[in-house]
Every structure is written in C-alpha cells, then in structure tokens.
Symmetry: C2
Subunit: 246 residues, 2 copies
DNA sequence: CGAACCCTTGACTTAATTCAACAACCGTGG
DNA sequence: CCACGGTTGTTGAATTAAGTCAAGGGTTCG
C-alpha cells in the first residue's frame, strides 16, 4: 500500500479523490539511493519534494569534529522537503540508512495537489504538526532523559510510527538500525547504547537480534520512559494493545 | 513597531496591504499573563492563535519527576499556535517568563488573513521552516554539544533573533533570563550553567549582569560553538558585524 | 528591613565517555 | 564451501564532564 496514504489516513478520513491524488503523486519519477548515501546535503538547493516509498533515512547534522547528530528518522510515507517551495537551501542533510526508494515530485505539482483537496491540505498540516511535535519531544528526550529512558523512548516512538503505517505487528518490526546509529540519534556513545540495550533485555522489555526488534511489553516500556503518542498528532490511530497515555 | 511585521519583513518584502493586514490582526483582543504563569498547558484545547507583542515566553514539557525541559524560547513577534486550525490539544505547555502581552486571534480570521496575500502566506511558511530549523538545531545542541558550546549557541541564537526584530543593538540586549532558566533550556543544572557562564566571562565573550547581556565579540562566540544562522531561514537579514557562517 | 530569589563556591558522587581488546556476524570472492 | 576483511556487538578498566548536596552571599522588591 502507498505509505503516504497509510500515514495520511491516520490524520484524516481520506476520500476516493484524495486517494487518487496521492497515488498520482507517487507515480512521479523515482530515485534509488544506496545505504549510507545522501539524499541531499546541508547547503544544497532543494529541487524536489521527496516522498519515501521504501527504506529508512535520517535527518542529520555534522559537527566540526566530524561527529554527526541524527535529529530525526524518516520512514516510508515521510517527506523530505514538504517546504520545497519556500526554502532555498537545506539547513541539514538527509542520509539513507537502508537502500532507499523515493518519489521525486515537482514542488509546484505537489503544492497544487495539496490545494486541490481540503482533506489533503489538512493532512499536510497535521503532518507538519507531527514533525514539529516529534522534534520537540526529541529535544526533550536528549535534553532531559537519562540514557535508558532515552533509548526506550526512541523505541516506543519508532514502534508507534511503524505500526501506524502497518510496518509493526504485535510489537515486532524489521529494522536496519545499528547500535551505532541509535547512539548518533540519542546523543550517547555506542558503547553506552550497548549497555542500555542489555539492561532493557534483562528487564524483558526488548528483543533485538539482527534486523528484528520486538517490544514484548510496549505498555511497560512506555511507562518506563513516559512515552505518550500525543505529540504525534494522529487522532485516527491508537496503537492496538497500548494505552493512549496521559 | 509591530514585532510580527518586523520578523516577517526578514522573510519577505512586505507591501502596504500585507502591513495593513498584520496591523489588523494585532488589533485583536489582547491578553496579559503574569511572569511564571502559563499561556496554555499541555492537554488543553486550542482556541486562539496567539501572537506575542511584548515579553518572553517558553515552550516546555514537564517530566514525571517534576523537572521541566524548555524546548524553545518565544520572543515578541512569535506565534504560539499558528496551527490552531488543525491541532485539537496542546502537546506541550507555554509559560510566561516575563509579564506578557499577546494578541488573541480567531483561528479562522488568522487563516483568512494569511490566504489574502501570497507574501503573507510565504512569510508564514518561512516562519514554520524557521521554527522547525530551530527545533532541529536545538536537538543537535542538547544532544551533541558540551555545556560551554551549548550555552554559547543559545546566546548566539537569541542574539540573532533579537537583532532581527530590533531588540539587540551592538551585541547588547535586555533579557529576563536567569541561570536557572538557561539550565532548564540547555538540559544541564543551574550550578553547571553558572560555571560555564563564568568561563565565558573569563574568555571575554560574555557580559551578563542582571537584566542585560552583552556579547562583546559575537563572531568569536559563534566560532566557538559553530553557530550559523542558516537554520533560521531569514534571507533578508544578516546580523551587522557578524559573518553569515558556512 | 525582611523574605524570596538568584548567584556563587567547594567537596563529593555519578552517569557516561574513552580506550582497548576481542568476539560475533555479514557479505564477498576465491 | 570456506577464508577473508570489514562492520557491529560486547566487555572491562580508567577517566571525565556534569550532577548533587550544602552553605553562604547578593539582589531585588514589597
């Protein structure tokens, strides 16, 4: 299923015409990026709205000493540059974690499609709120939570987002994440991520071998780190088996 | 001067009619909030778009143990809920740092004003990018930079934003910040903020007594922490006497 | 002039980093 | 099929940035 439609249907009730519009958008040129490659780099001009149709990517920034901080994960259905019409150049980079497929859409075409439907416009607005909300929550996460809760929170959020687009079932999802990538995202070292992961395993809250992650008790994990899906602004989606916390 | 106009004029070239529209918006109901009070709290429904006309506020979230993390500062000309039309309830709180004045605008009135002018719509889009860019940079800041650079970066950003609306001149600006507030924003303790502030003073990069902050050498401070104004997306504003970094 | 705040300082503790080594895993090519 | 090199995961010991606790000194404001 078209992952953009899957996500948007969590914001608003899509009708036939909206569905057709979204399908039309994703029939645009596609692009393939190898793992580790960049979809776009800081400072570059923006030519397209890119919609991820398959694969995981991340927004990141490089520091003077070469370290990088990942500031967001991009999953299927996420857009790289919904603001392509106004922004001249990227203030951050977007890197492919897996091999990536994305649709390249002309900014003006994208804009016209959004304006053609009230519901699409609304879904776009929801998505913008969702991105902002996530970014604020991420700021809180790295700013205030200790490592254990920080990793737990990232896992809860990924689980929720993946479940919303049908890529997580019964607390299990496929993932290309490594402990190194988690470290860059959480702002701690990979050595420490390793110790935290083992702690979570010992508590029976995490199964993570290779490319598969299972959260045996999502509620308990959410409780541990104070995760609530509120900041994701998906009024039409409640994670099965998970409390929609306070 | 209308601070909303001041900021928007950094994004696009406003024309007479845009100016009139913005003035009209700010003639709406005003509200006064005492220092330490909340403009709105997490979980509450959103009734108005609020534009800050005077005073400083902050977006924050509370943790289970009572600590709070400030995730953004709001200055005159900033909007509390530009997304009032779609979002049902707040995913964070907004607290007044100083005594605050803000204009209360009906969401639909606000929306109509924006749609009435291409340039206003563009300025709103720029502002949204600016907020997102700041939030990403803040995530990077608390996630990856050591305390000294972290505080330095916050000072650089505040200086730039205040200069953009005419509230900072020659590296000096009035501020209601305390070291405690800085600590909540930077995700470190106030004791440590104090040590960092003294370090910056010793390096000749910061004068901060009471309600006034001076950055004697903004370029050097920006260099120290790798600050660049790119993420603020103000194409029509370069800080006088400061390099517009890489 | 007293009472909140806020700033400052020192001694001690702790969470997380660093460094280093090694084990497990992966895809690739011989 | 196995050998290989590179990446990722794991562990331990030493180090460090930042936190905690506690006390005292300044400001500001009613």
């Amino acid at each position: 299923m078209n992952p953009l439609k899957a996500k948007f249907s969590r914001y608003v009730a899509l009708e036939r015409q909206d569905s057709d519009l979204l399908d039309g958008l994703l029939r645009a040129d596609a692009r393939l990026v190898p793992p580790g490659g960049d979809l776009i780099r800081e400072g570059e001009p923006i030519h397209f709205v890119k919609v991820i149709t398959d694969g995981w990517a991340c927004r990141y920034k490089l520091l003077a000493d070469g370290r990088r901080q990942i500031v967001a994960f991009l999953l299927p259905g996420d857009m790289c540059n919904p603001d392509a019409l106004v922004v001249d150049e990227m203030d951050h980079s977007i890197g492919a974690i897996t091999e990536m497929y994305c649709a390249l859409i002309q900014p003006d075409v994208f804009d016209r499609a959004c304006l053609a439907s009230t519901r699409l416009r609304q879904a776009m607005a929801f998505d913008a709120c969702s991105m902002l909300g996530m970014q604020r929550e991420w700021t809180l996460n790295v700013g205030a939570r200790p490592a254990l809760e920080r990793i737990a929170h990232m896992l809860c959020e990924l689980h929720y987002r993946l479940a919303a687009i049908g890529l997580a079932v019964d607390g299990t999802f496929a993932t290309p994440l490594t402990q190194i990538i988690m470290a860059e995202a959480a702002g701690i070292t990979s050595v420490h991520v390793n110790r935290v992961v083992q702690d979570l395993r010992a508590r029976g809250l995490l199964l993570w071998h290779g490319r598969s992650i299972t959260l045996p008790d999502p509620d308990a994990l959410a409780q541990l780190c104070g995760f609530s899906p509120r900041h994701l602004h998906m009024p039409r989606f409640a994670l099965p088996g998970t409390q929609v916390g306070v």
